[in-house]
Symmetry: D2
Amino acid sequence: GEPLLFILGPCVIESQDSLLNTAEEIRKISDDLGINVVFKASFDKANRTSIDSFRGPGLEEGLRILQSVTDQIGFQTTTDIHLPEQAAPAAKVCQILQIPAFLARQTDLIQAAAEATRDNGGVINVKKPQFIAPEDIKHVVNKCRESGQENVLLTERGTTFGYGHLVNDMQAIPLMQSLGCPVVFDATHSVQRPGGKTTGGNRAMVPYLARAAVAAGADAVFMETHPDPEQSPSDGPNMIPLKDLRKILQQLIEIRVLVNGWGNL
Amino acid sequence: GEPLLFILGPCVIESQDSLLNTAEEIRKISDDLGINVVFKASFDKANRTSIDSFRGPGLEEGLRILQSVTDQIGFQTTTDIHLPEQAAPAAKVCQILQIPAFLARQTDLIQAAAEATRDNGGVINVKKPQFIAPEDIKHVVNKCRESGQENVLLTERGTTFGYGHLVNDMQAIPLMQSLGCPVVFDATHSVQRPGGKTTGGNRAMVPYLARAAVAAGADAVFMETHPDPEQSPSDGPNMIPLKDLRKILQQLIEIRVLVNGWGNL
Amino acid sequence: GEPLLFILGPCVIESQDSLLNTAEEIRKISDDLGINVVFKASFDKANRTSIDSFRGPGLEEGLRILQSVTDQIGFQTTTDIHLPEQAAPAAKVCQILQIPAFLARQTDLIQAAAEATRDNGGVINVKKPQFIAPEDIKHVVNKCRESGQENVLLTERGTTFGYGHLVNDMQAIPLMQSLGCPVVFDATHSVQRPGGKTTGGNRAMVPYLARAAVAAGADAVFMETHPDPEQSPSDGPNMIPLKDLRKILQQLIEIRVLVNGWGNL
Amino acid sequence: GEPLLFILGPCVIESQDSLLNTAEEIRKISDDLGINVVFKASFDKANRTSIDSFRGPGLEEGLRILQSVTDQIGFQTTTDIHLPEQAAPAAKVCQILQIPAFLARQTDLIQAAAEATRDNGGVINVKKPQFIAPEDIKHVVNKCRESGQENVLLTERGTTFGYGHLVNDMQAIPLMQSLGCPVVFDATHSVQRPGGKTTGGNRAMVPYLARAAVAAGADAVFMETHPDPEQSPSDGPNMIPLKDLRKILQQLIEIRVLVNGWGNL
């Protein structure tokens, strides 16, 4: 059994300074806990609810800032891409390219990301769309493999459950693992309310879901974190305050030690 | 009350000859019935299940063929786009640009399609994503309007309902109309099984759903049709054979006459 | 094609006087429109949200009052039962015994109601549970038939759709009809919000759904109606005011005439 | 933090001998592991799919056999009841009375079970219906409390998720606990397929879900077990073979030790 991988960072790049500060805080925690962290931040929030919402610094500037996180803090990074032409430049900077759930059916995007990460020794991380069953992600995995990329992560981030709700089917974790791919549990977007409704209570559910997912065998946990989530331009109600991060990570590590001790689940 | 608008055609452009033949058959029916038809065909199936699936002739050739339908058969046309840069050329040929449900949250695509259709006196038709509530499409409508496009159609094409099923909430029709937009009912994709499972029985449900939608007040009906659906490279089990089309259209027209007679619903 | 059957009445018996008054109002409408009405009212609301909610007059007094509707107004009646021992006395008074959706899996209740209605020349009307697929109601139909009752109605009243919502799958109408049973569309409970949340807007959706269901081929329509729904002790936000009933019924009749004219759907 | 409570036993009482044998096997495991077990078996499967399915020995004989489990093996017991009049006799024998999910809205049943368990120093265990949200079970809890019963367990056993599927929302565990009630996770019925479809693969998901639920803070775990599930007259594909039980229990205990060590979640 491998130790857990953690994908941590804020939702969106607000500025280089703020991103480096957040990365440094996470670095301290990861050094203390001895964990593997890939640092995450988006350069463009391409599907915001409103046309006027803050979207981020864009591809070129975003990648430059992510490179500075690697150079100055020492973290490998991940970001999400939205168009095929973003794959090649992003894969030069980021170890993991993440495919948004809404876009996971777009063949050209999958193919571009699979090829670019393959060429750079990286990994493609496909978020299971909210609108398909765990088994059906195999078609996307096949697209990656037929593009020559064997290093495929799959992310559980919730499934559409009526209007205004997502639900996490924890069965999705072993079901997607049976396709031969490690599975990431995205605790942040799992508590999102589709349609833009937000409540401060969402965040309170993150630890429960993350613990459940690790106990069900998830290989990695994705959590967005922010020094002051209420001030974040995006996803504030779902992000974990940096000050609460360490405790949650410790609990997840403890569960993972148990799971690894049990051998093959 | 306006008469119904019908959006009819095959799933994908297989060849110019086959498309013109299908358009001609539909033309005969529409002339006989005296109905408004916008002819639909896709130039690229960008989210097929498999990387090797037939995708269509591509943008340039596809638009050329769609133009020939207008020139030779006299139909206005519609097609779906997948990337922002496709909006401008497509809007020059097609009266209606359709935004796929999976992509309806992509701000750049909406904005490009809204602007291009506005500039060409056309219409944007946004398919309500399977993963949002009818009310929440208002955010997309706002993006269109803030881009200067007031001619917005909304399409009901089913909502995620557990794994492997869609369901049509007929309440979505008046709810989306209350946003000030005419509503299209997509009878073909409503009977799709997400995840690629298909059954020959899907098609049998199309008339029931289309009739229900028109009785609930839908302003337009989208149906894919094909001379021989079983031979179609895509969406075969959901398409109506051309030979059955006339009867279904007649029933829908009859219901629409009643609805229009009732005045404000 | 048969004319539509209408099952109409208030949610619960509040008093003999009020029930007779409501029945008389409905009688005037049904005489004017020349329609078949079975009058509905519950003698016990056995699953109210709160232990203190008004439940009705109980079995004995309720049946006495329902008998007075038949005697004085001339309507056949229907009511819902909750325990096996209620079947025999209720079937002596009511032409149709209705099985609540939550209870449709209780073998003893189905068997008692099937046998009692069979013995009295009546009909059993099973509401499809919110938690099963249309096809799966066949097991309940089989229980009725094995109990010697061939006169089985099935009612579509919505299916669980996430939290706090029901959705009507109009495909359920032909699917349940294919089991050999006429299908009732319950427009009132379809707009209920599970969990007790209510909004005044629910009622506005009743006509849309009822029209859709009749266009999809429903054989009967169930609608609760009340002279002053806001004053009703139960289901107020979903009931149609008596003064609005005639117009809705007329629209449904007009659609039914079309459907019958089309022959086999 | 309390240790986990386990509710274990076969689905239905097949015979006194077989039940005592199963109880004895579980007793050995519980003695070895030092765990709290309440032994479960049903005397009547009142909602089987078919009218001819095996239902069990009935109330009187079933309670006699359950009493023999207490007398000879030393386990407290639990069983499910379906009619109000079963509450009083069952509460004399069983420490916990379980209310089936379909019946949890029936006021008379809840009231009878709450009063009978209160009078006998026992506990009422209400299974959250598949058709309501976790928060909405508060109405049922209130009915219990207003009947003078404060010892209320709530069970998560899955929520309707489209057709033919249930899903476990692990958020239900803390949400229902916030009503002041310990929460049981029913791992067996959570993998049931509504509508009677069964697959041998269901059982494989039980350990994943049970581990997830305990990590999310569940206070108790319900699992049906059988010496030879394939031979069981009911629920075979969901039950854990007795020979696999010990390993699963051990894993759950280990997770619970962690959870208790974390203090207030």
